[in-house]
């Protein structure tokens, strides 16, 4: 079904198309990752700090904002890439028929889909980098190791972009994206060691969290920002990589089934 010979560097031209469109409103695109962490830090820092004494993570006592800040980067990577390959790709595919037009050129479907996923990872990386800088200004990121966020965001972006593309491949209509968001994205957003350590959960919930890609991504962003980690970072890295590859394949298969008739 999926032929590797159909994939060449030509996909870069589709990636470039998305970059050109992104640059048209780059100020808006930059504003969100610039302000979002500031809002969270203010809200949680000022509002929550009084309620929570502090958090123990990897044997270290941390202020709540220090614990939560790296998770914001992980969440932002997830949202940026997942929403790009779900809503945005669906609009390009279904409403704008952009892929149909591309399919009359020497581009293969595989290249178009790969480009969309790589683009979503690129967008997530840009957002993560801006957020890291902002959080760095608040003194919540240790440099230079914090810059490891850049390659990590790209990998995380690939993972969530690919799973988003898989949902785009199987969703009957754009409204149905509510389902994966409610059943997959939102639980991850809440239970991936983002706002409280997974170690505080009952055993079964801890095991379940280990299956969440966001859990591993947040573990790694925290490792990049603070040098602290609960699990083995190599395991998290391997999990993310395997998850990305698996859904890259499934994304290509489902989109081919959807579009080539």
């Amino acid at each position: 079904m999926i032929r590797l010979s159909n994939i060449s560097w030509r996909f870069v031209s589709v990636w470039q198309r998305n970059l050109i469109v992104y640059r048209k409103i780059w100020k808006v695109n930059f504003l969100v990752p610039l302000l979002e962490p500031a809002f969270y830090i203010l809200a949680f820092g000022l509002g929550f700090q009084g309620l929570i004494q502090g958090i123990t993570y990897d044997g270290q006592a941390l202020t709540y904002t220090r614990f939560m800040a790296p998770a914001l980067i992980g969440i932002s990577i997830m949202y940026n890439s997942f929403f790009e390959t779900t809503y945005a790709s669906f609009v390009r595919m279904y409403y704008q028929k952009t892929f149909d037009g591309m399919m009359t050129t020497p581009l293969s479907l595989e290249e178009i889909i790969l480009a969309e996923i790589v683009w979503s990872a690129t967008k997530a990386t840009a957002a993560a980098l801006i957020m890291t800088m902002v959080l760095g200004l608040f003194g919540l990121v240790t440099f230079p190791q914090g810059l490891l966020i850049v390659p990590l965001a790209f990998l995380g972006g690939l993972a969530f972009g690919a799973v988003g593309m898989f949902f785009t491949g199987i969703t009957p209509s754009i409204d149905m994206f509510n389902l994966p968001i409610f059943l997959f994205i939102t639980p991850m957003f809440l239970f991936s060691g983002t706002f409280f350590p997974v170690a505080g959960l009952p055993g079964w919930a801890q095991s379940a969290a280990l299956l969440f890609p966001l859990y591993h991504l947040v573990e790694l962003t925290r490792y990049c920002c603070l040098g602290l980690v609960e699990t083995n970072p190599l395991i998290s890295l391997t999990f993310l990589l395997a998850f990305a590859l698996c859904f890259l394949y499934l994304g290509l298969v489902t989109m081919r089934r959807r579009l080539i008739k």
């Binding site: 470039q16 704008q96 028929k97 149909d100 037009g101 050129t105 020497p106």
Partner: protein
């Protein structure tokens, strides 16, 4: 069946042999064969659902054929699709212009998909904007274009790679007469440059104007193949009389004279085939009602072969 043109020598640009396509068990294209010669304009005609667009989609490798073979430039579409697509230009039925980009960017970025260098792409894009009288709209957003402008841009975009074969799927559907004539004019200019065309259309006037040869399809099969004039001659003759109101006396007369006619609810279409004797009698004896004497057209052929009842 139909009027065969004298076979031209040389490799055809497009060769379709026993091509078949099914969707969910329904046959869209049922074992059709035809060939398009270099420099020719070839038409695919047929009612909605006849299988025209399915054929077009198979030509550019969007839909894989289920049976038979399809070769473009002597390359098989299953294996040579990338090479084929780099040498053809496709103007799809739907508007697939990129609404996130300006008119000029639509051309430039599309050129990028063909790996055309940006210098060459800019040059080509300028030329095409001029050729399709789109210069003033250069920076306009695609969403702001009228139907006619959008179609001109779609055609301009299809030409960005200087294709040898141009595939047009209903190029003038929904356009006003001015836009349609401008588009026909440009297509004639391209033909003069030696381009080969394959087009689908619902407008018989368009097919008669543009096509050297055409096929009429229905239910996935080719009914006839020939030149527009040849098909008219063979299937409906040279002239037509239309009379409103079905009259038994007239029908008996036509039956006796062995003149063919089609009967509709309110009208009789008589294939008088230039027989002035019949025309005179009808003028004299049956002219009390509304009556039109006219030349036969491709539309008469089309309706006669595919039937007059509604399809959808």
């Amino acid at each position: 069946m139909g009027h065969e043109q004298p076979a031209k020598t040389g490799e055809p640009i497009l060769r379709v042999d026993n091509l078949g396509k099914q969707y969910n068990g329904l046959t869209a294209v049922d074992s059709i064969s035809f060939a398009v010669q270099p420099g020719e304009c070839f038409g695919l005609l047929g009612p909605n659902g006849a299988g025209k667009t399915s054929v077009i989609r198979m030509i550019y490798g969007f839909a894989p054929p289920n049976s038979g073979s399809l070769q473009v430039f002597g390359l098989d579409v299953a294996t040579g699709w990338r090479q084929i697509r780099s040498r053809i230009g496709v103007c799809q039925q739907d508007n697939t212009l990129d609404p996130d980009l300006s008119v000029f960017q639509n051309l430039l970025i599309f050129a990028g998909y063909f790996r055309i260098s940006s210098r060459q792409a800019t040059e080509r894009a300028e030329e095409l904007l001029h050729f399709f009288a789109l210069e003033k709209k250069r920076e306009a957003k695609v969403g702001e274009l009228s139907g006619g402008l959008a179609r001109r841009l779609t055609l301009a975009r299809a030409l960005i790679n200087d294709p040898e074969l141009i595939v047009l799927d209903e190029p003038t559907t929904g356009l006003d007469p001015q836009s349609r004539h401008l588009l026909w004019d440009r297509l004639h200019a391209l033909r003069a440059r030696g381009k080969t065309f394959i087009l689908t259309t619902h407008y018989m006037e368009e097919a008669a104007q543009l096509c050297d040869r055409l096929v009429i399809m229905d239910h996935g099969r080719i009914l006839v193949e020939g030149t527009p004039a040849g098909l008219i001659e063979a299937h409906v003759g040279s002239s037509i009389i239309e009379i409103s109101g079905a009259n038994r006396e007239l029908k008996e007369f036509l039956g006796k004279q062995n003149v063919e006619f089609d009967e509709m609810a309110e009208r009789l279409v008589i294939y008088s085939n230039g027989d002035s004797g019949i025309e005179q009698v009808i003028r004299a004896r049956f002219h009390s009602r509304q009556c039109t004497f006219r030349s036969a057209t491709l539309e008469d052929v089309f309706l006669r072969l595919t039937g007059r009842e509604l399809r959808e």
